[in-house]
């Protein structure tokens, strides 16, 4: 088979999961922002390039200057397990940072599009899909000739289902926290009214904390995912002795499947939360029919009653206050938090 045909088929098979997963997560095909979504997806496809470039540059450099080969030295000092952990944490860090910047860049240019946390998550999912698409092309085309048909089908199926889903989850998780960070001001107001401690530079701290949580989680899961697969590839499936019978069981694949399922469920839970689906009004807010001073009295009372667990009363206040001030994001947060608690 010619290399062009292999590349063509690899692209085709890499496209299939993109369509399937897009269909699962994006149920609005006539969305007027499809053009931007496509650009974010394309941006995601480019995130494989920096890692490939670093690999290429490193091999080129140590080819000319073998004394600079710090990887071999590191490998020797930390062992296989340590090396795998370092390598994949580094790869995960680079890939997630680039995907994050794609989401950030898109949001900075089209800030009106992310009006709720779920929308931020959508941006992240697209970047993740783009990345998985490129990575799949590389994997499929590199393994096409060396694998038997059954092995190739397994590879395509596994990567289309689990690897693509994993990448959606990695970027989905950081995007969720990015979404919260975007609406920091409103969440800080909520914290203030519910009597939580607010420091002097709370806005920046809150924002950075949310982004740090998102990054840490996505890099941790990404690193764990890659490391389990790599360990499984090196060690191969272990053999267990069950009632005198030797059974070979690929425990690493089970680990990866459980990890992906766990992340997917976490993402679904975050998406189903009322807080996650809050629509935050960023501009052109309706003017409140109450003065700020009077609204503050009510918000303060809501905070006190919220802390006392008087959720039904606070819920009723939210409904009435939103009639007077329909675009008050803090009241919406109160309402969503209560709905989540009353579920």
């Amino acid at each position: 088979m010619s290399s062009n045909l292999i590349l063509g088929l690899s692209i085709l098979f890499a496209l299939l999961p993109v369509f399937v997963w897009s269909y699962i997560f994006f149920d609005t095909p006539k969305d007027k922002n499809r053009g931007l979504y496509f650009k974010i997806f394309l941006g995601g496809t480019l995130t494989v390039l920096p890692v490939l470039f670093i690999q290429y540059a490193y091999l080129k450099i140590i080819g000319q200057f073998p004394s600079l080969d710090f990887v071999s030295a590191l490998y020797a000092s930390v062992g296989v397990a340590g090396w795998i952990a370092i390598k994949y944490s580094f790869v995960a860090l680079i890939e997630e940072v680039i995907k994050f910047y794609i989401v950030l860049f898109s949001d900075k240019n089209y800030p009106e599009l992310i009006t709720n946390i779920s929308q931020a998550l959508k941006f992240g999912i697209l970047a993740g899909l783009g990345f998985a698409f490129s990575e799949n092309i590389l994997y499929f085309s590199n393994n096409w000739s060396s694998l038997e048909t059954s092995g190739l089908i397994s590879l395509i199926l596994f990567r289309s289902v689990f690897t693509v889903c994993a990448h959606i989850c990695f970027s989905g998780i950081f995007s969720y926290f990015y979404g919260i960070s975007k609406f920091s001001k409103d969440f800080i107001e909520f914290k203030k009214w519910t009597g939580q401690t607010i420091s002097t530079n709370e806005y920046q701290k809150f924002r950075n904390k949310q982004i740090a949580i998102g990054f840490t989680l996505s890099i941790f899961f990404h690193g764990a995912f890659n490391s389990i697969l790599e360990v499984g590839t090196i060690l191969g499936p272990p053999t267990f002795n069950l009632f005198g019978k030797a059974i070979t069981f690929n425990i690493y694949i089970v680990g990866v499947v459980l990890l992906v399922a766990g992340m997917f469920l976490t993402l679904q839970t975050l998406l189903s939360k009322n807080t996650g689906n809050l629509v935050f009004i960023l501009a052109d807010r309706y003017k409140s029919t109450m003065s700020k001073k009077d609204e503050d009295v009510i918000l303060e009372l809501m905070g006190i009653w919220y802390n006392q667990g008087r959720y039904e009363e606070v819920k009723s206040i939210c409904e009435r206050l939103l009639k007077r001030d329909p675009d008050n994001n803090v009241v919406k947060i109160f309402q969503a938090k209560i709905q989540d608690k009353l579920l």
């Binding site: 109450m290 003065s291 001073k293 009077d294 009295v297 009510i298 303060e300 009372l301 905070g303 006190i304 009363e313 009723s316 206040i317 009435r320 206050l321 007077r324």
Partner: protein
């Protein structure tokens, strides 16, 4: 401390057999004075006989904080437990707005005048 003037007096009513206590407030009820003022109302509720009704005249009250609303809600509970009624009279529009949004007007009647308040007792 923000200035708050208050006056407790008895109202004569031909329509009610039970005594009516009038509490007139003037100024602002906020964090600096509410904890000093609230015990005086509790004391009144405590010493007055069962069935005593109360009218809060808020005509000259320009501000009340969240804690004050909490106290009013609590006074209502205590007065009701002693088979009395609590009416809020002559509150300014912004104060009425707050009561409306908080939902207090659903349990405590708000009236424009003292006479109207008396007829509700």
């Amino acid at each position: 401390m923000t200035d708050i003037k208050f006056q407790f007096s008895e109202l004569i009513s031909t329509q009610s057999q039970n005594p009516i206590k009038l509490i007139v407030l003037e100024g602002q009820l906020d964090e600096s004075n509410i904890d000093d003022f609230a015990p005086k109302v509790y004391q009144q509720i405590e010493i007055n006989p069962e069935g005593t009704n109360y009218i809060l005249d808020l005509e000259k009250l320009t501000y009340l904080n969240s804690k004050s609303i909490g106290y009013i809600s609590d006074w209502y509970g205590k007065i009701s437990a002693k088979k009395g009624k609590l009416i809020i009279a002559k509150a300014l529009t912004n104060i009425k707005d707050i009561f409306n949004v908080v939902g207090l007007d659903k349990v405590i009647p708000l009236t424009q005048t003292l006479d109207e308040a008396k007829t509700l007792i």
